[in-house]
Each structure stands twice: as C-alpha cells, then as structure tokens.
C-alpha cells in the first residue's frame, strides 16, 4: 500500500524563511537596493539605512523582512518629490 507523506504545517517554512542564510540573502538584496539610490540631496543619500527584522505572519510563519529607508524628515520630502527609493526598488526588480 502506498504511503503518503504527511503534509508539513506551513509554520515549518519558518525554519527556512527565518534562517541566518535567508537573512544573508535578504540583507544582500536590501544592500543592493540601497547602493542603487542616487539623489542630488547628499544628506538624503547619507541617511539611507538598511535593516532586517524577524517577524511572524498571521499564519504563524516566521520570516526575515528587509527594509530600506532614509531619515524620516529628509526621506519623506525627497521620496515624495523625486522617488529615489522607489526607482532603486524598480531597478532591482522589486
């Protein structure tokens, strides 16, 4: 009689999505997005930071999330006027 493998619960995906290896991949992507950001406002470019967070989805899947952002006061004005972060995301395929 054929034996069917029991489906693993979705939360076990967290072993992969929350792993140090995945964090390395995500921070690499975030780093390349940050490196692609260019703007005439040097203070804005200097304020760009990348971060990774460990979060849990509504279904209980643990995962790593990468974030690229700039200093809030400079960042919001420059992003609204010229969209350098959005363009860097677009260029990276995001």
């Amino acid at each position: 009689m054929a034996r069917f493998q029991k489906l693993q619960p979705l939360s076990t995906l967290g072993v992969i999505l929350d792993s140090p290896e995945m964090e390395g991949i995500v921070s690499g992507i975030a780093g390349s997005i940050a490196a692609n950001i260019s703007d005439p406002n040097a203070a804005f470019v200097a304020s760009v930071r990348t971060q990774t967070f460990h979060t849990t989805s509504g279904r209980g899947v643990r995962r790593v999330v990468g974030q690229v952002g700039a200093g809030p006061r400079i960042g919001s004005r420059v992003e609204a006027a010229r969209g350098p972060i959005a363009r860097a995301l677009g260029e990276s395929g995001g």
Binding site: R77, A80, A86, L89, G90, E91
Partner: protein, 153 residues
Amino acid sequence: MALLLERWGSLVVDVLFPIATGHVIGRLGDMLAARGESAAADVSVWRVLPPKGERSKRMVTVRDDGGPVEGVQSRRRLGFNVWAESSVKAERLALICMGLVGSMADGSPVTAVDSVSGPFEVLEASKDLLTVDGDTLAHYYFSARVSVRGSDL
C-alpha cells in the same frame, strides 16, 4: 523561479506596453468624480503639478518611478502626491485615492495593484508650500506597484 521567468521573458519579444500613468490618471479622475462624498469633490489629477494659474485646492499627481518587465506585464512603481486645504482633508483624500488605486485592476491594461504603501504627510519647508487662493495646502504621499498588460507589437 528566476530561470522560469528568464525563459518566459525570452519567449516574449514583441510586446508594446501602454503608458501606465496615462491610464491611471484617467481612471482615478473618473473614479473620484463618481464618488459622492465631499472629500473627493473637485479633485484634479495630473502627471506633474500644473502652472500656478491652473492649480486647484485639491490636486493629485501620478509619477512613474519605473519597474521591471516580466513576460507580457510591466510592473511600475507609481508615486502619488496629494494636496488639499488641510491635513485632515488631504489625508482623507489620500486614503480614498489609495483605495481607488487598489481596486483599479480590471485586466485592461491594469492586471494587478500591490505593494501599496502610505499615506504619509510630507512636511514641506516653508519655501516649498503650495498656496491656492490664499489657502496653504497640506501634502500627503503614497505609492503603489501597478502591473499593466502589454499588447502585440
């Protein structure tokens, strides 16, 4: 997945994509005009800010920040700047616009809207504040990724 997309991309070569902002500006203007609430009344939608003489108290601009082509779809990151007479009115208008953009996918040519982010208030330096008929306008911003379908070249 990357290999699959690469192969799929290489199969599709003769595709003409529409100007995403043109469609979004037209649809957003129509959808706002069709709403009865006061917060969405008398809104003009543009690609860039119009000259001073043509500005109104409630304006939205739609900017295309680009994005990748995946097969027959182009995924564009759009930035939406929203102005109104007060912070509350501008935020309300931005939220309405965000909802309308999120519901815009109809397949022709917008196939999907995701990564909607915002709105946040843009605190302008005093020299950058917009004034229309004596009112200083409040400014909000949000962004979204809009996918559009191409057609045969």
